[in-house]
């Protein structure tokens, strides 16, 4: 690590102010940022911990919407998002207990790792990312690997999830990291089905339009039997080729649909 200053504000407003300084950076659960700092791949002047801000914690449900505050840990979501079981189940599959007890939904979405789990549920649910400044539709929020619509110093304060009629997340583990090699979240709403795929694409999380159309017409695994995603544009690495990931997208989508039954 390089030397840095440490701030622990108690409100979002104070945090925003602290983050307005040059090269200040927000610290959520630190499960991504701390390893990055230890490897000296980042050099913030000030780390602004969001851990002491009570208004960033908690889960609430009303009608067909679940709101998760930006500083809520994966463990808290796994435990407390019972109004949206597929969301809770997804959170419970992230990392290991130590990671889940510290990592936060805001940190995960801000980081937008191409193999992370939360982007899949946010995009498939048509969630809204709420920040200190504005509300961003998930469809506009994810802009490619590690890239989002967030501005410098902008804090994710909450995520609003419309709750689907049925939904399921299928995660195929990358053998070493156990992040998603391919993760597919299928969400069926009254007005159609949304399918979001994480882990697979060089562009980060994406919606699989053909599968959405087919499933909207006929919500069954058979409906997507003939469908495939293009291998071109998928991630190819030591854990699997582009073709393999493209194949897994189909398999995991079918499994997600079947699992909702």
């Amino acid at each position: 690590m390089y030397e840095f200053e440490f701030a622990r504000p108690s409100s979002v407003a104070e945090a925003v102010a602290a983050l307005s300084e040059e090269d200040a950076q927000a610290l959520g659960g630190g499960q991504t940022l701390i390893p990055t700092l230890k490897q000296r791949l980042a050099m913030p002047t000030t780390l602004v911990s969001l851990g002491g801000i009570s208004e960033l914690k908690g889960i609430s449900a009303s009608g067909r919407e679940v709101v998760v505050k930006g500083g809520t840990t994966h463990a808290e979501v796994a435990e407390g998002a019972s109004a949206y079981p597929a969301l809770a189940a997804l959170a419970g599959q992230i990392g290991d207990p130590a990671v889940r007890n510290r990592g936060t939904i805001g940190g995960s979405l801000a980081n937008n790792d191409p193999a992370a789990c939360y982007p899949a549920v946010a995009l498939a649910s048509g969630a809204t990312i709420v920040t200190n400044a504005r509300e961003i539709a998930a469809d506009d929020y994810f802009q490619g690997m590690f890239t989002t619509a967030l501005e410098e110093g902008e804090i994710i304060t909450a995520v609003k999830f419309p709750v689907p009629e049925v939904a399921n997340y299928q995660k195929f583990l990358q053998p070493a990291s156990r992040f998603a090699m391919v993760g597919v979240f299928v969400a069926k709403f009254a007005d159609g089905v949304r399918v979001a795929v994480t882990g697979a694409s060089e562009e980060g999380v994406f919606r699989w339009a053909e599968a959405e159309a087919a499933l909207s017409a006929n919500f069954s695994a058979d409906a997507i039997s003939g469908l495939t995603v293009e291998a071109e544009g998928m991630i190819g690495d030591i854990h699997g080729t582009k073709e393999y990931r493209a194949h897994l997208v189909g398999v995991m989508t079918k499994r997600a649909v079947t699992a909702t039954g």
Partner: protein
């Protein structure tokens, strides 16, 4: 618990709980990183981030001026100092000795792998050292790297070492005189099975990364190195005699608690020599603690063989000849024992459990721009076992015979058995271990289990194999002929205190194996005193006799034997003292249950009276024997030991994703006599986990430019608890070793040697059950690879 953990409460055969675990599990161990010497400074190594290049400029002036920096060292500081030595010289098939490049402590002019140390900053804190390392101005003229072994041997390939004639370290033939006879046998064969395969490169990844603390005492002129080592005496010898020129009496090496080694902590590393050297230069202790990232690019890697193996059979399916051609990766430099691994620890095992009369092994060892490769749990023997047991499986399929029956038909059944590859198996019973395996693995029930799996949409496969290993390395006179530059005996001093307690100082090092528990069991059995009256000390050259350390499953077979010999001397002397005390003849004294008695009488003296007399010799035959009760023995084994066994693995394969899960794994081992069956179970479990890790998960991968792609746990998959099943292990088949006093054979590596072929055989079997024409998949059998194999 297995059946053989019986009711015996102490001594040989008891499942005594490991006394060392209390400190390991409660965080009270004393590891090298726990050692902090007054006033110590910290070193950070600047390492190469390119695989191959020429250093064109190295300016440390800015770094030297950084706050807290004591000194920045470069290769220039080591010009008068020796390089890291290689402990084994192989002679090639033309009678020439291997090519042996220099291995500088810090790079001299060239860097040869990612992670090669270039400069070292010593500063007041580790963070300041790291800060300053970033201020070193370094320019490297990058050169094309050689990564692929076959490409490295082509004419015109870039040379890793400019002063060598090529990248070929040696071209070894074994047994060279048999080459023609083997070729003839292949010409005459009724069937020949050929298989090309890769034994994947691995990173040992012990839980504790390497650490070194160098210290220098100006008052005595003595250097001390605290280090994470499996063999502190070997490090003292190599570093003192070859690198730094410090005589043994001025150099102490301490390896305290060590958190796993698996081979990777046998070798003498640059960082150890650096810390010892710098401590003297700066008159300050110097500490280095490896980060996990550094470990990936500086700990010696394991395996990395590419092999073509051919098996010849006659019309009755008897094995008639075996021929192999292996390329073995040495990496950029020769690590301490690297040359011995693909040769004498590999070629000599190619007979396996079978009476194949003719064998020819060819190994080309190759330099590449990668981290040095050396012994890793099993070292050479897993590579031998894997190729042999894979080719037999393939032959069984080609001939449409039962793979177990084909093995049984070719088993060695008479002992001693002299193989055509220079070693003689003293004992064994391969039929018995296979019978036991069929029972504990419930081979008969496999068909029903396969049907169940198929109902659930899964493919199920069964893989069986045998293994043999040579442990207890080794007769010194033999290994001397084979190129070892060291002896391979072991030592023990048994010190009996006045009140009867015993301290054993052994050259065997324990880094997880449980010596502190199992060694006292042996003494307890011999003398008849409680185990807790015996304490084991190891790991410090200042208070243990010269020993060769722990690897090759040698501790109990060689180190334990030395302890037995020393204890026998103790008992013999104690009997003389007892005879004097009881006014009887020496020959009439018996020792049982901690009591000396005179045969045929009811006269006796307890152990404690005799030991007290030895140190308070008021009533003592001083003119005949010396006071005191302390003896040392060195034991040099007459032969290797040959543990053997049969393993069975059952897998399920998900046909949609290629994911393999291990459903059952059974291991029937013959380790000879067993001192602590619980510890043996643990050793087998750990070995199986590592073997399964190699088979399914672990792969160290470089790209063509020599960048390490699997440089962290994000990309290098270590086995986790849920990757392995509950094991059925059995070691009730026991054919005791005939040439060591305990009749033990060694159990530390068996699991890692025997399990990879079982897993691969099982996966191939599963895929074939679905009609896939798959004959082999290279490890690790990741879901992606298995799926790709299924696509044909």
């Amino acid at each position: 618990m297995p059946k053989d953990i019986d009711a015996k409460e102490s001594g040989i055969g008891a499942a005594t709980k490991r006394r060392e675990d209390i400190r390991f599990l409660t965080g009270t161990g004393n590891y090298t990183d726990d050692i902090n010497v007054n006033g110590q400074a910290y070193v950070h190594f600047l390492r190469s981030d390119v695989a191959h290049g020429r250093i064109t400029s190295l300016d440390t002036s800015a770094a030297s001026a950084m706050p807290g920096v004591l000194r920045v060292f470069t290769g220039a500081d080591f010009e008068g100092v020796g390089g890291l030595p290689c402990g084994w010289q192989v002679t090639d098939r033309f009678g020439e000795v291997m090519q042996e490049p220099a291995h500088p402590v810090l790079a001299q002019g060239k860097v040869r792998h990612v992670g090669d140390p270039i400069a070292a900053v010593v500063a007041e804190t580790a963070e300041l050292a790291r800060d300053a390392a970033e201020a070193i101005e370094l320019e490297i003229d990058e050169l094309p790297a050689v990564i692929d072994m076959k490409a490295a041997l082509q004419d015109g390939a870039p040379k890793v070492h400019d002063d060598l004639t090529s990248n070929l370290c040696y071209d070894w033939g074994f047994v060279e005189e048999n080459k023609e006879a083997v070729a003839k046998a292949f010409d005459a064969a009724a069937h020949v099975t050929t298989l090309e395969l890769v034994n994947n490169r691995l990173v040992a990844n012990p839980m504790e990364p390497r650490v070194a603390v160098g210290d220098f005492n100006r008052a005595t002129g003595e250097s001390t190195l605290y280090t994470t080592s499996q063999n502190p005496h070997v490090i003292r010898l190599l570093m003192g005699a070859f690198v730094l020129g410090i005589p043994e009496h001025k150099l102490r090496v301490v390896a305290p608690d060590v958190g796993g080694g698996f081979g990777s902590k046998i070798f003498h590393y640059a960082e150890e020599a650096f810390c010892t050297f710098a401590a003297k230069a700066l008159n300050r202790a110097v500490k280095w603690t490896s980060s996990r990232s550094e470990a990936f690019m500086s700990d010696a890697h394991g395996r990395d063989h590419v092999t073509k193996i051919e098996l010849a059979l006659d019309a009755d399916n008897n094995f008639t000849a075996l021929r192999t051609e292996t390329h073995a990766n040495m990496g950029a430099y020769l690590s301490t024992f690297a040359p011995s691994v693909p040769t004498w620890l590999h070629g000599t095992l190619m007979a396996g459990n079978y009476k194949t009369p003719l064998i020819y092994v060819n190994v080309k060892a190759v330099f590449t721009n990668t981290v040095p490769v050396d012994a890793y749990r099993g070292a050479g023997r897993p590579e031998a076992t894997f190729q042999l047991e894979r080719v037999i499986d393939k032959a069984a399929r080609e001939l449409d015979v039962d793979p177990i029956a084909l093995r049984r038909q070719n088993f060695v059944t008479e002992f001693p058995y002299a193989t055509p590859v220079a070693v003689e198996y003293d004992t064994g019973d391969y039929v018995a271990t296979m019978d036991k395996l069929e029972e504990i693995a419930d081979i008969a029930g496999f068909a029903a289990r396969r049907a169940e799996s198929e109902k659930a949409g899964k493919l199920r496969g069964l893989g069986v194999n045998c293994y043999i290993e040579a442990c207890g390395i080794a007769p010194s006179n033999l290994v001397g002929q084979l190129g070892a530059r060291a002896g391979l005996y072991e030592s023990a001093t048994v010190r009996v205190n006045a009140t009867g307690g015993i301290v054993v100082m052994t050259g065997s090092h324990s880094h997880g194996q449980g010596h502190e528990t199992s060694f006292p069991q042996v003494i307890s059995e011999m003398i008849g005193i409680p185990e807790d009256m015996v304490e084991i000390e190891h790991g410090d050259t200042a208070n243990t006799p010269m020993g060769m350390g722990t690897y090759g499953s040698r501790s109990l077979a060689v180190g334990g034997s030395a302890m037995v010999r020393a204890t026998e001397k103790i008992i013999s002397k104690a009997k003389k003292i007892a005879a004097h005390l009881m006014e009887a003849a020496d020959a009439d004294i018996e020792l049982k249950d901690g009591k000396f008695s005179v045969a045929g009488t009811d006269k006796s003296v307890p152990w404690g009276d005799v030991t007290l007399a030895a140190y308070v010799p008021h009533n003592y035959p001083l003119e005949e024997i010396e006071p005191g009760l302390e003896e040392t023995a060195f034991y040099d084994p007459a032969n290797f030991t040959y543990p053997a066994g049969a393993y069975a693995c059952e897998v399920e394969v998900d046909p949609d994703t290629g994911k393999v899960t291990i459903e059952r794994f059974a291991a029937a081992d013959d380790f000879g006599n067993i001192v602590n069956p619980m510890i043996v179970d643990g050793q087998v479990h750990g070995g199986l986990g590592q073997g399964i890790g190699q088979a399914l998960l672990e792969g160290c991968v470089y790209d063509e430019d020599g960048q390490l792609l699997s440089a962290s746990f994000m990309d290098y998959a270590m086995p986790r608890a849920d990757d392995v099943p509950f094991y059925q292990v059995d070691h009730s088949c026991q054919t005791p070793c005939t040439h060591n006093p305990l009749g033990v054979k060694g159990c530390g590596e068996a699991g890692a040697i025997g399990s990879p072929p079982a897993v691969v055989n099982a996966v191939v079997d599963a895929l074939r059950s679905a009609g896939k024409d798959v004959t082999h998949i290279d490890m690790p059998l990741t879901p992606a690879r298995v799926w790709a194999a299924m696509q044909g």
